[in-house]
């Protein structure tokens, strides 16, 4: 009871004398309520995490099934194997997909981060005209239904000869990734103390020097996490690739999509474990950057 998250309950149980008849059921009810609340939370977390956790042991299945075999449950070593990891690592198609994903991801991230950081700096300035409208336009790629984006980009880029090219995908992914950079950098700038810039100016630093030597180092955690978000968005994007990309532009998610649609093999689970590891690593990096950020730890994003 004492360690319960909400402090209100423990105080409440003291406020009502436990000896009176009326209080007893309410005390019990409160206790049940607390257990019920905790059970709900645990169920919620299980719902969030169990699907991701289940994949990990199943990827070591020796059989081509998506369920725990009896051997696995008996912890029979023969029922566990690395065969699906071998299958992924030795399949050239996945290798090519990884190269495509990295190429498109890195190029679009650089573009999105550079443009997004500049834009966030402009938006943070008090003299920015039409701030809310401009922000709405810049963020809109993030909330527009992805099918509409993909179809629009497919029609327009194909007309320009950018259909089935890496360049087309890089441009489209950069537009999709830029909002993440704008949001994270804007959040970092909210905690940025502009007086240091005035101090630098009074000491004779020009605008370029003020930006690169003072402001950029201070906001760099926000820039990096924005870039990481943009990279993750591109690395996980499949619908635009489906419409705009050809065989030469197959990325990891595109390859997974084909795998899930056509015949799903446990090799996908092995790949999924790699992607989960990437996600956890990216998440921990962003959290670490957040603690390093100049702004108060919880204000980013």
């Amino acid at each position: 009871m004492r360690s319960a998250p909400s402090a209100g309950k423990s105080l409440g149980s003291e406020g009502i004398p436990p000896s009176t008849k009326a209080a007893a059921p309410s005390f019990l009810g409160r206790r049940l309520g607390r257990y019920g609340f905790n059970a709900l939370c645990v169920a919620g977390f299980v719902f969030l995490l169990a699907p991701i956790l289940v994949i990990v042991p199943l990827s070591f299945n020796a059989e081509p099934y998506f369920t725990f075999t009896e051997g696995m449950l008996r912890l029979d070593p023969d029922a566990w194997s690395l065969r699906w990891y071998n299958a992924v690592l030795n399949d050239e198609a996945w290798g090519r997909a990884l190269v495509n994903s990295l190429l498109i991801g890195v190029a679009s991230t650089i573009l999105a981060t550079a443009l997004g950081t500049l834009a966030a700096l402009g938006l943070a300035s008090p003299s920015m005209p039409g701030r809310s409208l401009v922000t709405a336009v810049l963020i809109s790629p993030m909330i527009t239904p992805i099918v509409i984006v993909a179809v629009g980009v497919f029609f327009f880029y194909s007309g320009l000869g950018l259909g089935q090219t890496h360049a087309g995908l890089i441009l489209a992914h950069a537009a999709l990734g830029a909002p993440f950079v704008v949001i994270t950098v804007t959040a970092t700038l909210a905690g940025f103390d502009r007086t240091v810039l005035r101090a630098a100016a009074s000491l004779g630093a020009g605008p370029m020097r003020r930006f690169f030597r003072i402001q950029l180092p201070i906001i760099s955690p926000g820039v990096f996490s924005g870039g990481l978000f943009a990279f993750a968005a591109s690395f996980d994007e499949v619908v635009v690739v489906l419409f705009l990309g050809g065989l030469e532009q197959r990325t990891i998610p595109r390859q997974m999509w084909a795998g899930i649609r056509e015949q799903i093999s446990p090799a996908i689970l092995a790949l999924a474990v790699f992607l989960i590891a990437f996600a956890v690593l990216a998440l921990l990096t962003v959290e670490w950057l957040r603690t390093r950020s100049a702004s108060a730890p919880r204000s980013a994003g």
Binding site: L49, L118, S132, L138, F155, A175, A300
Partner: protein, 390 residues
């Protein structure tokens, strides 16, 4: 002025790579120049035709000439496809006529010549279809997207109930989105509450647990649900293994609406938890005990004191989840089967398979209007700058 110069590069980039493509797509919903580009002369003659009986000989002559030209220039499929969508069967008539024309002797009039190849040329509805398809600006795709049709007396009304396709799908999309939003709220509220009221160390850890799925690839999460829910999957295996279900009565939980619901709720849940958490953590922890010490039951204290203060978070989270849900494509396409598909699937279908781009564009515009309205409400009420990414 300096501020604008900093924003301008991204603004120009987003405009060119994103806004203009969207505008191009939307224009396809009402503007379709294919037919009038391929048959300009025919359209010119038909424009002066009163629509009764058959058009004058000049129309037949123009059509014959332009059909031959279109065949040479390989422009015919585009135009015949567009006419075919107004009246089924016209693709065949046009292709056949164009191919036979070169080998057919001139029969005195072009009218007789064309009629010799296909009797359809003597049907007034053939010409009416060509004239309708040839109008460069049309609301036809919107009528179709809203399951409306032009009645014989010229008025516009709904199609018969059993031949409506898109309005039921829109209702389904709205209902599924509402349902998913509600589920996210029911599951997300207690979670956010727990995170916000835990001691700092534990709060950070719990928040990380919410963010793991947020960062995990969408396809991985969808795969996970396929693994869990399919007939030979983990949950069915568990139920059969425990003797709760007989082996031949495995539950069908995927490739239908259940699959769509479960997987979408899972994917969108973090978007609910994060804004809820942001609001809840700013509520002073002393409020609830204060209400209780003044005699409110915990339930009443929650309802009258805590819940109203979390309303901004509920609004922000619900709006965001709802916006993302109505345009959802990937998860329903992979785990929804036929009964679990949403409006986005139809847009993809008409672009990739049926090649009815006008209809796809009209459906896109309708969806985009809905999303834009919600987005504007969001930016007004919540503020885009306050969107949380973790």
């Amino acid at each position: 002025m300096g501020a604008l110069a900093l924003v301008l590069p991204l603004l120009a980039f987003v405009t060119l790579s994103f806004v203009v493509p969207l505008a191009t797509l939307l224009s396809k919903s009402a503007y379709q120049p294919e037919v009038s580009e391929v048959f300009p002369e025919t359209m010119h003659v038909l424009a002066r035709w009163n629509g009764e009986g058959l058009p004058p000989e000049a129309a037949f002559a123009a059509m014959a000439g332009e059909l031959a030209k279109a065949l040479d220039e390989r422009a015919l499929p585009r135009a015949s496809g567009a006419i075919n969508r107004v009246q089924g069967g016209m693709r065949g008539v046009l292709n056949l006529t164009a191919r036979r024309l070169a080998r057919t002797d001139f029969a005195g009039t072009w009218r007789e010549t064309l009629a010799g190849i296909s009797g359809d040329w003597l049907q007034p509805r053939t010409w009416l279809a060509i004239r309708e398809a040839g109008a460069p600006f049309t609301l036809r795709h919107y009528l179709q997207a809203l399951d409306l049709e032009r009645k014989e007396d010229g008025s516009i009304g709904f199609r018969p109930e059993d031949s409506r396709v898109y309005t039921p799908l829109m209702w389904r999309t709205l209902l599924v989105s509402l349902g998913v939003t509600l589920l996210c709220l029911l599951i997300g509220y207690p979670i956010a509450c727990m995170i916000a009221n835990s001691p700092p160390k534990r709060s950070r850890l719990l928040l990380l647990l919410v963010l793991v799925p947020f960062w995990t690839s969408l396809l991985v999460r969808t795969t996970a649900w396929i693994v869990l829910l399919q007939r030979q999957g983990v949950i069915n295996g568990l139920l059969v293994g425990l003797g709760i279900l007989p082996d031949d009565a495995r539950l069908q939980m995927i490739y239908n609406m259940t699959g769509t619901f479960v997987a979408m709720t899972h994917v969108l849940l973090p978007f609910m938890v994060l804004p809820l958490y942001s609001v809840m953590r700013s509520i002073p922890p002393s409020h609830m005990p204060a209400a209780v010490s003044l005699g409110a039951s915990p339930l009443k204290a929650f309802r009258r004191v805590y819940l109203p203060q979390t309303l901004p978070g509920i609004g922000a989270g619900s709006l965001l989840v709802f916006i993302l849900a109505i345009g959802y494509y990937i998860t329903p396409a992979l785990v929804g089967g036929r009964t679990g598909e949403l409006i986005s699937s139809q847009i993809a279908y008409h672009v990739q398979t049926s090649l009815n781009w006008g209809l796809a564009a009209a459906l896109s515009s309708i969806l985009l209007v809905a999303v834009t309205v919600l987005y504007l409400i969001y930016s007004r009420v919540v503020g885009i700058e306050r969107m949380r990414l973790g």
